[in-house]
Amino acid sequence: MKRVYVNEEWCLGCRLCEYWCVFSASGEKHFPFAFDGGAKPPAGIQVEERGSVHFAVNCRHCEDPLCLKGCISGALSRDGYGAIRVDKTKCVGCHTCIALCPYGCIVSGGDNMPIKKCQLCAGKDYTPQCVSHCPNNAIVFEEDEDL
């Protein structure tokens, strides 16, 4: 499957990925509408910064997904493109997946709300927006040749 890889060497810390992620997940047609004038925390990707080092972290869609295996409701599943997706109608917000994800890539959707996570921009034809809008190829979407 195609996976999102991070080249931390080239990350500029511009955080555009986070904003495109919010836009992608919002389902809005126009970029500014996804924000309604205020910043919204991204769910699918976040940029970490430590000194001059930056990199974006998003769901690895692990081959051995602990989140999916630990899910109490069966809301998490892997789709035909290999993306681990959440069924928002089934998720009860128990956060077991948050407790299990080794990379901290699942975000609380708030009290009693379904969790949020990267779904590889399934709604955008599986064109991860963080990748297509990264100005420096710090995030790439490439076929995993190990499989």
Binding site: Y5, V6, N7, E8, E48, E49, R50, V53, F55, V57, R60, D64, L66, K69, G70, C71, I72, S73, G74, T89, K90, V92, G93, C94, H95, T96, C97, I98, A99, L100, C101, P102, Y103, G104, C105, I106, V107, S108, D111, N112, V140, E142, E145, D146
Partner: protein
């Protein structure tokens, strides 16, 4: 190859998926005592709370069994295993197997208490049928008595909170959630629940039930309409015992742990017979002992490991540890691992975090309030990462991968260098 699975919990689902990774053809028969397709047991409190509904509780999509070629025998209890000829007897029928998985789960423990039999509306809280029965039994004026302040008891209380008039929780322990908290965090939970109107009688127990009320050891009496008993579970090991599986393991303290004893492939040692889920004992890497670890993620993964082994493959090596997550009426809490060792505490408005360090390794944590990205810490426990090799101070403030060092970041996020 003929596979038979006794039990239809998530361990069973794990097993089916584990088998089908390697063996697309063999026949799989699942014998389940309950009449429902598999659902996640913890969902029953969310069901009562109104956060999910019966049509959404199936653990897998409706076509799952069909797609995986599974014959589902529901509402039937497996009565006997003939390990010599490889057969399971259930509902008067024989189900021959080459490989058998015992995933019979556990049953609630009912402390023997005088008058219990006479209580009209009494329930345990482990199965969907329990929740459905309770749902019918309560109304807005019901006074509910919950015996047991463990996670199940409190989740039952949470589930019923909006549906009933009052809730009182009784436990012999001196604090709530004794298995997954320390005193201070327990007190936070308790005061939170008390602030919501839930009453607690701790360090106490019911001596007897009388008509419409319970008399506690302290002498206190509590009037109630509905009784929910949730003091713990006992692994269902009878079938396993009957075919000669070891179902007890002595501990250092001299008190045995009950549960089916298995190896890392979930093999019981009896030819062709595997076991997984709450009916087994697991090695807890944090405490370093083998004990019941009756939490759902473990059940799935054990089932999967068993399925892999049964179909001739080998599953991912698992390190099991207790991980519990759940909200209690708006209080969010995640705990993991063991709660002994040198504590490091971070307290802020609405946030309580305690980390337990032993031998310079993170051993466990309790996080109440904000716990974003806490899985990074769970992974540290799982991997036995030394706290000296990472920026632990920053991890206690806000966990991120950067604190684990560039090399780790590259290894998990970057593309592996292609072999040239």
């Amino acid at each position: 190859m003929k596979y038979v699975i006794i039990g239809n919990g998530v361990a069973s689902i794990g097993a089916i998926e584990g088998i089908r990774k390697n063996d697309k053809k063999g026949s799989i028969t699942v014998i389940g005592e309950e009449k429902y397709p598999c659902y996640g047991r913890p969902l029953i409190s969310y069901y009562l709370e109104g956060m999910t509904s019966l049509d959404k509780m199936d653990y897998r999509p409706s076509q799952f069994y069909k797609d995986n070629g599974v014959k589902l025998v529901l509402g039937v209890k497996a009565e006997k295993i003939d390990a010599v000829s490889g057969k399971v007897l259930a509902g008067g029928k024989e189900y021959p197997y080459d490989k058998l998985l015992i995933a019979t789960g556990s049953s609630p423990v009912i402390p023997p208490t005088p008058g219990y039999d006479k209580v009209k509306r009494k329930f345990t809280f482990i199965r969907l049928d329990d929740a459905l029965a309770i749902e019918k039994a309560v109304d807005k004026t019901s006074r509910v008595l919950v015996i047991g302040a463990g996670l199940t008891g409190l989740k039952a209380a949470e589930g019923l909170y909006g549906r009933v008039g009052s809730i009182t929780v009784v436990d012999m322990a001196d604090r709530v959630l004794p298995a997954v908290t320390d005193a201070e965090s327990s007190a936070i939970v308790r005061s939170h629940l008390e602030s919501k109107g839930i009453a607690f009688c701790l360090s106490d127990h019911v001596e007897r039930f009388d008509d419409g009320f319970a008399v506690l050891a302290s002498g206190k009496t509590i009037a109630f309409d509905v009784l929910v008993t949730s003091v713990g579970v006992r692994p269902n090991t009878e079938l396993a015992t009957s075919v000669g599986c070891a179902t007890e393991r002595m501990t250092e303290s001299g008190r045995p742990f009950r549960g089916i004893v298995v190896d890392r492939d979930q093999y019981t040692g009896v030819d062709g017979i595997y076991a997984a889920g709450d009916c087994t004992l697991s090695y807890d890497l944090t405490l370093g002992n083998t004990r019941p670890l009756a939490i759902q993620p473990n059940a799935y993964m054990q089932g999967e490991a068993a399925g892999a082994a049964m179909s001739g493959a080998r599953a991912e090596r698992r390190e099991y540890l207790p991980v519990n997550s759940g909200g209690l009426l708006g209080l969010r809490m995640i705990t993991a691992g063991a709660y002994d060792g040198e504590p490091i505490t971070v307290k802020r408005e609405g946030i309580f975090r305690r980390f337990f360090i032993r031998e310079r390794k993170l051993r466990g944590f309790i996080q109440i309030g904000d716990y974003s990205r806490v899985g990074i810490l769970t992974e540290m426990i799982r991997k036995g990462t030394s706290v000296d090799s990472v920026d632990f101070a920053s991890l206690t403030e806000s966990p991120d991968l950067a604190a684990l060092g560039d090399e780790y970041v590259r290894s998990v996020l970057g593309r592996k260098e292609k072999e040239k």
